[in-house]
Amino acid sequence: MKPSLSPAPTPPPDSSRNEEAPAVPGLRSWGRVYAAVVIGFLIGLVLLALLPRVVS
C-alpha cells in the first residue's frame, strides 16, 4: 500500500451500495439530468447561431 494522508478507501455514504452497481455510480439516475443539460446546450446553441439572422 502506498503511503497516503487519507484513510483507507471506503464507499461514499451517499452513493449506491449495491454490489452490482455500474462502473459509473449514479449514472442511470443522473442520466436524465445530464440529458437535460445537453438539450439546454443545444437549444442555446441554435438560438446563438440564429441571433444574427433574427435581428437583421
Binding site: S4, V37, F41, G44, P52
Partner: protein, 572 residues
C-alpha cells in the same frame, strides 16, 4: 471616484473578507482546513465553482473583447457542459470514494508517488504563474485609470486574499465566494440596465441588437474548419471540452470547491448548476460588450480607451500628431453617428433597399473611423515602442467611470475586486493544499512522520500568496490578459488531463509508463508552442492529452513487466 464610491468599495470588499475570517474563527483540524467543513450545499458549491473560474479578467477583458470582435469568444465555453457531465459522472465519485483531499492524491493511489508528484508539480507550476496574473490583471487596469500606485494595488489585493485564505482555509474561500458572486451579479445587472437606459431615446433594445448585428458583432457561432482561427464551434467543442475537463476535473482550485460538498448529490448539483449557467453568463457579459459597441456609435468614444497613456503621450514630444488624429477621429465619429441614426430611422420604413443602403453607409463610416483609430495606435507605437496599444481591457472601465452614477461606480469596482479575490483565494487555497498534502505530507510520511499540521497548511498557503504577489509585481509583459491565462492553462492542462484519463480508463497502464509519457508529451507541447505556434491555443489541450495517452499505451507495450503498478486495484 467619489467618497461614496470608496465607502461602497471598501465596505463590500473588506466586509466580505472579514465575514470569511469571522465565520471560520476557532479551532481547526487539518482535514477541515484543507477540505472544508463538508457542510456545503449545492448552491454554495455552484457559486464557488463559478466564482473560482470568473476572475476580474472576466469582467474587465471580456466586454472589451466583444466590443472589438463580437460574441465569438463564447465558443470557448462550448465544451464546458460536456466536461462537467464527465467530471460529475466519472471523476467526482472516484474522488469521494477514496476521500482524497487533492486530485493528485488519486494519482498516488492509482499509480505511484512519483506520478502523483508530477501531477502536483505541473499544477503548482502553471497555477503559481496564473495566480500572479489573476492579481496583476485588475491591478494594472485600475491603477492606470485611477492613478493608483500599481505595486501598492497588487500588494493590497494580495494581502486581503492572503489574510482570509490563510485564516479560514477552504471553508472561508467557499463562504466568501457566495457573497462575492452576489456582488458580481448585482453589479453587472446594474451596469447592463444603465447601459440600455443610456442609449438614445429613439433607439430601442431591438434597434441596438440590429445595429450590433449589422456590424457583425452578434456572430457567436463560427463553423469554419480553419485551424488558425482562434474561436470556432469545433475548437470550442473539442479544445474547450479538454480544457474544461482538465480544469474542472484535475485543477485543485476547482476540485477543492466541489469536494467540500455535504454529499455526492450536492457536489453534482453544484457542477450541473455551472453546466447550465456558465455559457449564458458568458454570453451575457459578451452581450454587454456588444451593446457597449452600439452605445459608442451614438456617444463620443475616445480614440484610444487607455486615456491615461494617451494623455501622457499627447503632452509629450510628438503629441501634436496624436492631437490631430484625435480631432479627425471626432469628426469621423460625427459622420458615423449620423449614418447609424439614419440606418435606425430607415429600419422602420420596411423598405429593404433603403435599409440595406443605410446599413452600408453606416458600415463605410465605421471602416473610416476604425482606420483613424488604427492610425492613432500605430502613431502611438512609433512615439513609444514600449506602449501596449491593445486598449480593449479599458473599454468597460471607461464606460463605468463616465456613465454610471456615484455609488454604482464603487459597486462596479467592488465587482472587479470581488472577482479577483474569489479566484485568487481559491488558487492560493489549492496551491497551499497541494503543497502540504502532496509534497510536504508525502515527504513527512516517507520519513515516518505524522500528518502535517494546520500551521504547516497556513504557512504553505501564505508562501504561495507571496509567490503570486511576486509574479504579479513582475508580470508586465502580457498583451491580452484573459488570453494569457488561457494560453498558459492550455500548455499544461492537456498533459495533466492525459494523466487522469489514463488513470481512469486505461487499467493496464502503470506508473512508469504514464510518468515517462507525461514528461515526453509536455516537452512536445512546449516545443510545438515555442517553435511553431501554428494552431489556436485551445488545440494544445487536445494535443497534450492525446500525446500523453498514446505515449502511455506505447510505453506500456514496450515495458509491460516494469510498468505495472500494484495500487491500481486499490483505486478502483
Amino acid at each position: 471616484m467619489s467618497t461614496l464610491d470608496y465607502i461602497v468599495l471598501l465596505a463590500t470588499t473588506l466586509g466580505i473578507a472579514a465575514y470569511g475570517i469571522w465565520r471560520t474563527r476557532g479551532k481547526q483540524t487539518f482535514e477541515n482546513y484543507v477540505r472544508g467543513e463538508e457542510r456545503v450545499g449545492w448552491a454554495t458549491i455552484g457559486l464557488a465553482v463559478m466564482a473560482t473560474q470568473a476572475s476580474a479578467i472576466t469582467f474587465l477583458s471580456t466586454p472589451g473583447q466583444a466590443f472589438e470582435s463580437g460574441m465569438g469568444f463564447v465558443q470557448n465555453y462550448f465544451g464546458l457542459p460536456f466536461a462537467l457531465i464527465v467530471v460529475s459522472a466519472v471523476f467526482l465519485p472516484l474522488y469521494r470514494r477514496l476521500r482524497v483531499m487533492t486530485a493528485y492524491e488519486y494519482l498516488g493511489h492509482r499509480f505511484d508517488q512519483k506520478t502523483r508528484l508530477l501531477g502536483a508539480g505541473l499544477f503548482l507550476l502553471q497555477r503559481g504563474f496564473a495566480s500572479g496574473i489573476t492579481i496583476y490583471a485588475p491591478a494594472i487596469v485600475l491603477s492606470t485609470v485611477f492613478g493608483w500606485n500599481l505595486d501598492l494595488t497588487i500588494l493590497t489585493t494580495g494581502a486581503v486574499a492572503i489574510l482570509y485564505t490563510v485564516s479560514g482555509g477552504n471553508t472561508a474561500v467557499s463562504l466568501t465566494q457566495k457573497h462575492q458572486m452576489a456582488v458580481i451579479f448585482a453589479g453587472m445587472a446594474t451596469a447592463f440596465v444603465i447601459l440600455i437606459l443610456r442609449l438614445p431615446e429613439n433607439v430601442s433594445f431591438g434597434d441596438a441588437l440590429t445595429v450590433a448585428g449589422g456590424f457583425d458583432k452578434l456572430n457567436a457561432v463560427n463553423l469554419s474548419f480553419d485551424l488558425n482561427e482562434r474561436y470556432t464551434l469545433w475548437s470550442g467543442l473539442l479544445g474547450g471540452f479538454f480544457l474544461s475537463l482538465s480544469y474542472f476535473g484535475t485543477d485543485q482550485s476547482q476540485v477543492g470547491r466541489y469536494l467540500s460538498g455535504t454529499s455526492l448529490r450536492e457536489s453534482r448539483l453544484g457542477l450541473m448548476f455551472n453546466a447550465l449557467l456558465k455559457i449564458p453568463m458568458q454570453a451575457f457579459i459578451l452581450l454587454l460588450g456588444t451593446l457597449l459597441f452600439v452605445f459608442y456609435q451614438f456617444s463620443p468614444a475616445p480614440v484610444f480607451f487607455d486615456r491615461t497613456t494617451w494623455q501622457q503621450h499627447v503632452e509629450g514630444p510628438g503629441g501634436e500628431r496624436l492631437r490631430v488624429l484625435e480631432e479627425r477621429y471626432a469628426e469621423a465619429a460625427v459622420v458615423k453617428r449620423a449614418a447609424v441614426q439614419q440606418w435606425v430611422s430607415d429600419s422602420e420604413s420596411g423598405d429593404p433597399a433603403r435599409i440595406s443602403a443605410a446599413r452600408d453607409a453606416a458600415r463605410a463610416a465605421h471602416v473610416q473611423s476604425e482606420a483613424i483609430r488604427a492610425e492613432a495606435k500605430a502613431t502611438l507605437r512609433v512615439l513609444d515602442p514600449s506602449v501596449k496599444t491593445k486598449d480593449s481591457d479599458y473599454v468597460f472601465i471607461t464606460f463605468v467611470l463616465e456613465q454610471l452614477p456615484r455609488g454604482v461606480i464603487g459597486l462596479l469596482i467592488a465587482v472587479i475586486f470581488a472577482a479577483a479575490l474569489s479566484s485568487v483565494a481559491a488558487e492560493l487555497s489549492a496551491l497551499g493544499s497541494t503543497t502540504v498534502v502532496d509534497l510536504y505530507g508525502t515527504l513527512r510520511r516517507s520519513r515516518g512522520g505524522t500528518a502535517p499540521s494546520v500551521l504547516a497548511s497556513k504557512l504553505c498557503t501564505a508562501f504561495w500568496g507571496l509567490v503570486a504577489v511576486g509574479f504579479a509585481l513582475f508580470a508586465r509583459v502580457v498583451e491580452n490578459l484573459i488570453e494569457a491565462v488561457n494560453i498558459l492553462g492550455s500548455l499544461f492542462y492537456g498533459v495533466i488531463l492525459g494523466l487522469f484519463l489514463v488513470a481512469f480508463f486505461l487499467r493496464r497502464v502503470g506508473g512508469h509508463a504514464v510518468f515517462t509519457a507525461a514528461i515526453l508529451a509536455e516537452l512536445a507541447v512546449l516545443t510545438a508552442f515555442f517553435a511553431f505556434d501554428r494552431v489556436g491555443y485551445l488545440w494544445y489541450n487536445l494535443i497534450g492529452c492525446t500525446l500523453c495517452v498514446v505515449f502511455s499505451l506505447l510505453l506500456q507495450a514496450l515495458l509491460p513487466s516494469r510498468s505495472q503498478s500494484a495500487p491500481e486495484a486499490a483505486a478502483r
